[in-house]
């Protein structure tokens, strides 16, 4: 009950805050659409050159990148939102006030990014509406239960990475090596904007170390080829193993960082 009340309080506060920046609020929603159009025209120009690499997914470039961007946009929220929100709380001087209350680590984790996930869900719906009504993408082959499983496993995995990343913010304020990797390399090396089969072997090996590679590939296969547990099983297993390691580790380390942060007396610093 307390956790839900805390989450509702954060949601209301963040909504009111976002609404107070009216232009930014409107531009945020419009920006979702402009990003899609860039890829639409790239497809017109270069789409056919990528056809051999897209054959396993049974789709064209625009549909591939549209799906991956929508998917990555949502799961990427988990990766970026925790550290971003925590940093904001530090910078505006409210972190110490929030952590002076009896809020638990679990409630704080859930509440801190609740608004980001709500907004990401809204963006996902915009993508879905555009896919169906504007671009008339053919998603008839999709295996939605398998896609939902991939989605859930991927969201948990990226939220864990985001929580781990926020531990750095809690302890060091600025200088977050995990966020740097997530921001600069996940989209590039994970096959969001083009299939990873384009990479030379050494870069493909690096790409195989990242959970996003498995997440994007599995999601593309389930949505465009209707792949189930048999065809996408390897990627789904990899995601499950990432989750098994990352979810408990991230929650434990975040709890530890919350517990330890008051020791040097820097909760109020930024």
């Amino acid at each position: 009950m307390r956790t839900l009340r805390a989450a509702a309080a954060f949601l209301r506060k963040d909504f009111l805050t976002e609404r107070s920046y009216r232009l930014s609020f409107a531009l945020g929603a419009a920006g979702t659409l402009s990003g899609i159009l860039v890829f639409y025209f790239i497809d017109k120009l270069f789409g056919s050159a990528l056809a051999p690499h897209l054959a396993p997914y049974g789709t064209g470039y625009f549909t591939y990148v549209f799906t991956a961007t929508a998917f990555f946009g949502y799961i990427g929220t988990g990766a970026g939102a925790y550290s971003e929100r925590l940093r904001l709380e530090q910078a505006q001087g409210t972190l110490e006030a929030v952590l002076s209350t009896p809020i638990t680590t679990g409630a704080f984790l859930l509440a801190l990014t609740a608004w980001n996930f709500i907004f990401a869900t809204f963006e996902l719906l915009v993508y879905a509406a555009c896919a169906v009504f504007l671009f008339k993408l053919d998603l008839a082959a999709a295996n939605w239960p398998a896609a939902a499983l991939v989605f859930a496993l991927s969201a948990a995995c990226f939220a864990s990475l985001g929580i781990l990343s926020s531990c750095f913010v809690m302890l060091f304020k600025r200088g977050n090596p995990l966020a740097w990797v997530l921001n600069n390399f996940e989209g590039l090396l994970g096959g969001v904007y083009f299939p990873v089969t384009l990479f030379p072997p050494w870069l493909a090996a690096v790409s195989n170390l990242l959970p996003v590679t498995y997440a994007v590939r599995a999601f593309q296969l389930t949505v465009h080829k209707g792949a189930g547990l048999a065809a996408a099983g390897g990627d789904i297993l990899a995601l499950a193993l990432f989750d098994l390691a990352l979810v408990p580790a991230s929650v434990y380390l975040f709890h530890l960082s919350i517990e330890r942060a008051p020791a040097p007396g820097t909760l109020g610093q930024y």
């Binding site: 309080a9 107070s20 409210t94 009896p102 809020i103 330890r260 008051p262 007396g265």
Partner: protein
Amino acid sequence: MFIEARGIEKTFPAPAFGGGAGLRALAGLDLKAGTGITGLAGPNGSGKTTALKVLAGVLLADSGEVLADGKPESPERLRALVSYCPANPRGFYFRISAAENLRFFGALAGLPPAEAAGAAAELAPPLGLSAADLGRRFDALSEGTMQKVSLLRALSRRAPVLLLDEPFRGLDEAACAGLLGLLSGLSGSTAVVIASHDAALLGKAAGRILRITDGTNGGEAAR
């Protein structure tokens, strides 16, 4: 309820790679405050704020313990028992109203919205806060009004222990009188600890005043 600090030591470490020595803020502080109002006096840097933060569970001591009703308590439990009003009234969300801030922090402390609003409506008038003040965006408030909202946030939790750091700072005469009245009303049921440099107001508020010197208890101050 009484709250007690036993042998609290706290040194703020020097920044990593920054050189220099750490800052010793508390050097074995012993302090006990029961139901009623206890004042904390002492020069700048003597350790008053550090002591309050350790008692509130906001800051971890290097050694020593904090007890509530004689039982050692974890920082997590202290945050549930203690309501803390910091000296700086800026730990609020500036883009939303004072009332929304109170609703938010009330929810984190476990208060349903109606209860938080009820507490604000009851406690605001003695501090000279109007409904219009509470409806105003926080960044549109004067420094003194921010301080009143900060006091309201701490008071409305109705926690068994209330710690106020420089509560009179920025308040006008009427608000100081209103605060003294509110604290007097609480003194029969709540352990209130006030740190202040305003000797006159501290004298009016507190039944006894402890002096902190160089991070240790310097005994009771003369009245």
